[in-house]
């Protein structure tokens, strides 16, 4: 299976950020879906289309939307989740330990794409067997 078969669901409230991520991941030959909130996220996950990875970037001024992450991890345990967030704002939520990866939301997209490669190669080794993950310091 090639990258064109891997579907990433980007959950981001900021539309422009969402569009940017969609564009960048599409440019890297991923199939990209996006969602602006929890409802859209679960609608996409419940659809017939398979989602291989969720990049979750839903934040509120009070920190992570705890209910959303808990619902996602509990109801879709087979879908790896990468948390793309302001890490310093995260609380001691036990569900944080169940995410596949965490990336600081900075201006550097490379960190996120690198983490996506790492997670995909860990969860779907046969899917992207030829796509070696880059060494990461995230």
């Amino acid at each position: 299976m090639q990258r064109t078969e891997v579907r990433i669901l980007i959950v981001e409230r900021n539309r422009r950020m969402r569009d940017f991520l969609r564009r960048e991941f599409s440019r890297r030959n991923f199939l990209v879906e996006d969602a602006g909130n929890g409802n859209e996220l679960f609608l996409k996950l419940d659809s017939d289309i398979t989602t291989h990875l969720v990049v979750l970037a839903v934040n509120t001024p009070e920190g992570l939307d705890r209910g959303l992450l808990q619902q996602l991890i509990t109801n879709y345990p087979n879908v790896p989740v990468i948390l793309h967030s302001y890490l310093e704002e995260l609380s001691d939520d036990p569900f944080l330990q169940k995410v596949a990866g965490m990336v600081e939301k900075s201006g550097n997209l490379e960190n996120l794409t690198r983490m996506v490669s790492i997670v995909l190669s860990r969860y779907y080794p046969d899917l992207i067997e030829n796509d070696k993950p880059e060494s990461s310091n995230v």
Binding site: R13, N14, M17, F20, E24, P61, S106, G107, L109
Partner: protein, 500 residues
Amino acid sequence: MADKTFHSLHRLSLRAKLLSLLIVLVVATLTVAGMTLWYVYGTQKIFQHMEKSDITALLSAQGLQKELMAQQGLTTYYSLDHDNKWLVRLENNNKQFEKLLNKARETNYLDQGRTILNNIESDYLHYIFSRKEVINLYRKNLNKEGVELHRKIRARFQSIYDLCEQYKQLHQEQIRYAAVNYRNQAKILTALSLVSVPLSAFLAVWIGFILIKHILDPIRHLARLEEDGVPDILSGEVGALSERMQNLIDDVENAYEMLQHSRDQVAQSEKMATVGKLAAGMAHSIRNPLTSVKMRLFSLERSLNLDVVQKEDFEVISEEIRHLDTIIRNFLEFSRPPKLRPQSVSPSELVDSTLNLLSHRLESCGVVVTVCRNENLPVVNADTEQFKEALMNLILNACEAMVDGGKISITEDSMTIAPYGKMATLTIVDNGPGIPALFKDDIFKPFYSTKEEGTGLGLSISNRIMTEHGGWLHLKDSGPQGTSFIMALPLKDASTWLRS
């Protein structure tokens, strides 16, 4: 000697002084009262004795004389008319004489008196016998012989009369002696009264003086303590009481100040919470689009082929965005202070650790830091990361103030500061240009900065961190020679204010 006694008295406590004086006063009063009782009893005894013995004896002696004279007279009357009624009366007088003589014997208590009475009795018996002979001669009408014998017994009559007089004088002498005795006792009592009454009066005045000077006056002073402060004249128990009261008043004032301080802090905290919430909301709202901008710039940077000028513009934009990001981070940190994770640590270790972290920065700024330390400070309860951040903010501020490099000294100390108790203190002194007097009152206020690119949160965050640790951050001094700050933290055994 008197001086020594006075000094000894002066050294006595107020309680001992009052007790001593009261004891002396009571003893003096009781002594006078006892002596008066003794005198009254003695006087009464003298009088009773005098009445029972001497006056009775005196009266008896006078009675004997009277009866004797009457008998002599009746015998003469009988010689004249030989009427038997004189003999009947003579017999009555005789019985009366014997009765008086017996009474005199009963009341007599003197050996000399007894001898006199014996003599009276003996002479009287002889007298009666001779008188009976005289009467018999008159009865037989032997008047001439009767007159002759009658004349002879007159000498015996005179002798008995004299004995009676002697007996009378003896008891008069006893009465005089009792009077002398009475006067002597009265003199003693008078002398005692002359001593004890002034002594009692003196003691009473002294007690009154002590009561007024050492109790009533001090109490009046104490009542006006708030107006006048502690009077210097108070000493001893009342002095201790005054000191205790002053301490209590100080404690109340301290407690009031602390309460006021706490109220101010609560009000400030509420204000800061509101400001922080606003800041957090705003920062978060800005942060997301800013990240989007950063990402797009990052993407652009990789794809564009820029010339030198464009590159410079691009870098400025990137730098300003980073600056914005820093401001936002500070805002968020200020609005959501991390929870304290206190642990036992010596502030000295934290100083070393902070200086180690800042070593490159200090070097690049040309700042030399000196630590004045005799030995490591005692352990405090502190969140190491937050304390380091507080100290770091101070050091970095000093570095920024000293544009061309300079010196910073950190002096470590531990001391007891009322009412907080034992504290560890760090005094951070730089030789920068100092803080302008106009800004001194506002340096700890959030969002207040004199620097072009400052967020105005560094000192505010440091101040809050110290307050949360139960300590404080104070601006000690600032002038053209430099600025000094004091950080104080309660030692571990005194850290009751620590908020966890």
